[in-house]
């Protein structure tokens, strides 16, 4: 079981140690880490405007420098005014700096075509994962048959399984439909829920949209169905929307759960409890290291809200430079401002590149015999299904390894390409996958995909 993105590096370490111990020369010159959604580490450049504002906040002497644009200075001054003693070094309120929560609320209103957002419902967080863990923590309770069940998609991002296990809650799996572009089907939600009711108290439904590792983008009908289901079953909806800017396929569009909930009318909007999450780490900015994020929580019971505030206050406050970075994500340059042209150019360059790489990856995988890859509608990963011959499965078992782990280790040993076995995310029994990021630069990605192709063909031959 893979418990975090960072454990994805484990196979590399094990293999390295093995090579060193045995004096083995590797048949490649470079390891390509396609295992983590870590854009800057793969060469993506930071968005200039974001870094300018954070640098100005860090070292306010720069506010007098003519080499920084006026719109960046304005943002920095506003953020600093929200800080005690005008310093990033002061604690902020546990919920985050007021003016940044206001900017988040305005962003959500713009994004959702005017659906109102209340800054009081916004909580700045230490990356999205911190918010997700906090919400799960306050929702989980009870023992025995009344233990809290948390419904998560399979495949899922392993933060969920790790948090659920840490909280001693029950993981309730619902399967995404691989035959149908990893779509979410409400009948499958119902099956999973009804079965789970026999042994726990399912209270939370987690959705990842756009999907990680699966990359599907949910359409409006699907979201309506999910919301209706949550309303009917009184489930707390947890919408992980950190890839909201990462939508590539034509005809696909990001719809926030909050917006659709509102449009379904007051019976839904006033009743369904919803927490949705965003982050500085993905999108076009890829600022993972800042640990910036926010959550919007609506219809939370006042008592539970009190618990949440208390829990968040123990950690004092989210890192303030991460809060500043989040502010720029929700309050970027607008037309007429000095930095607008460069900002849009940089943003579109990243997103257009990702879209190109999404298509390239899908196409190249689907040309490889024994590999099938659904369209990468969004996010930043491919999760292709791989055929593993029964001889290879036997050999894996002899090594006490999951077959897809065996496959990924071989891939690493022979090509230097590091991807994550599907068993780290969960998959239907008897199917095998791996997750690979599409973050390497286009030319490198092409080489990488060619190498996977050669490897896979040889692998099939060897274990035929």
């Amino acid at each position: 079981m893979c418990h975090s993105q960072h454990n994805f590096c484990k196979p590399i370490k094990i293999y390295w140690q093995y090579c060193i111990r045995n004096g083995i020369k590797k048949p490649f010159t470079e390891v390509i880490k396609a295992n983590i959604g870590d854009a800057h580490a793969m060469g993506q450049r930071p968005i200039t405007f974001l870094r300018q504002v954070v640098a100005l906040c860090t070292y306010p002497n720069l506010l007098d420098s003519p080499s920084f644009p006026e719109d960046a200075k304005e943002r920095a001054r506003r953020i600093l005014q929200g800080c005690g003693g005008n310093s990033l070094g002061s604690y902020t309120a546990s919920q985050g700096i007021n003016c940044i929560r206001e900017d988040v609320a305005s962003y959500i209103e713009r994004r959702d075509g005017g659906v109102p957002a209340d800054p009081d419902n916004i909580y700045l967080t230490t990356g999205a994962s911190d918010g997700i863990s906090a919400i799960l923590k306050i929702l989980v309770s009870g023992g025995g048959k009344s233990r809290t069940g948390v419904m998560i998609p399979i495949p899922q991002y392993p933060l969920y399984s790790a948090a659920i296990s840490e909280l001693d809650a029950i993981q309730v799996n619902y399967y995404l439909d691989e035959e149908n572009c990893w779509a979410l089907n409400v009948n499958e939600l119902r099956r999973a829920l009804n079965e789970a009711k026999a042994y726990c108290n399912p209270k939370v439904l987690c959705i990842i949209n756009p999907g990680n590792p699966t990359g599907q983008v949910q359409n409006r009908k699907c979201i309506e169905d999910v919301i209706h289901f949550a309303w009917e079953e009184k489930l707390f909806l947890l919408a992980d929307e950190v890839y909201q800017d990462n939508v590539y396929s034509e005809g696909c569009q990001f719809h926030s759960f909050k917006k659709i909930l509102y449009e379904m009318g007051p019976e839904y909007y006033n009743n369904v409890e919803l927490a949705s999450f965003h982050s500085t780490s993905k999108g076009y900015m890829g600022e993972c290291g800042y640990r910036g994020g926010y959550m919007e929580v609506i219809n939370l019971h006042p008592e539970i809200k009190g618990q949440l505030v208390k829990l968040l206050s123990v950690r004092l406050c989210p890192p303030v430079s991460g809060q500043a970075a989040m502010d720029i994500v929700v309050n970027p340059p607008v037309p007429g401002e000095e930095s607008y042209a460069q900002f849009i150019k940089e943003k579109e360059s990243v997103l257009n590149n990702l879209a190109k790489k999404a298509k390239l990856t899908e196409d190249m995988f689907n040309k490889i015999p024994g590999i099938h890859c659904n369209p990468l509608q969004g996010a930043m990963y491919a999760f292709p299904r791989i055929f593993i011959p029964s001889k290879a499965i036997e050999e894996a078992k002899a090594h006490k390894m999951a077959p897809d782990m065996f496959y990924c280790m071989k891939l690493l040993e022979e090509t230097g390409i590091c991807v994550v076995p599907g068993s780290g995310f969960g998959q239907r029994e008897g199917t095998y996958h791996f997750r690979m990021t599409i973050l390497p630069p286009v030319e490198k990605l092409k080489i990488l995909l060619e190498k996977v192709k050669d490897f896979h063909i040889k692998f099939l031959e060897k274990y035929a």
Copy 2:
């Protein structure tokens, strides 16, 4: 029960709301928040060199700017080389950037007069509190009589009681000796431990040195006694040393637990499990908002170490700008470097000022009838004992308030000074205290102390 520094603001909010509701005009023009150790919010200026390095890391274009000193640029280049894609925006290893952990180890070796420190034992954290919570989490286990007991000083910093209660562990109180400058006495540790053994399994001994809220600095003999006790009783030692730079009283000196442990010889050094903590938030830098920190953990059982690494990996990595800030705390300018003179001037100015204010506060409190204040040997708080007349205690009870909370609310209402009641930290039954920071600028602090004096005298008269 006060669960965090941030809840210390609660009385202000309640009082504000009350004033607004009732149209009450306040008899003061400004609230002075002397409740949180938040240096920059109280007007302390950031250390220039630290901010220069973080700004250079944030916006590397500045590496070409002639207005930044070369030693700052060197530090920034080194940190960026430790980052994936040379960017603060990449994830780092969960344990923190390698070269920063190396700098931490060198710092500890210098601080401890050559006692070796291994970068593998260093974990960068999101402030010290994150590390303390993580260590407590992996050490706590069992139910019923085998529930883990965690020994904490009374008075204590409320992070401990909050974390212990969150983990469903048992808080085992040992009392510091107020009559003896808040010293720690091993007989009291033994009493507390023996009593606790009847109802739980005491496994962890927490020490805060210099003390918070009590400000005492432990001498070498005391630390040796504590270590011998921990060795004898096989207790895990948790040494909260975030105020290691904040020592003011003549004849007092900071000794790290690690150093004394080493000097006591291999029987101790190879056996006692010790985690010690430091942070960017206190000292002379006061960079709370960066959420930077580290812990050094020695003699940790390999299995427990595995659990720790797994736990830390779920949160991905500590904020990278906080890691960079921590680097400058452990690797500041040295003689011969361009920035040395200014750095030392700024550092000494902050520390000399704090020392002056520590003495001033002690002296002024001890001139007030009904207030006794121990010497503020270190840290950044006074924790004076206050006499509350029985009539006031009765009135507090009628309002369902702890007497010291009643006192602090009255102080706030009448003077605008916000301090924290001793009951938030724990105190011997029948004694009353409050915690006040010494962070306001000297002139403001004098006014504040005069106001407390006037208030206290009137309070005594009113309830005589």
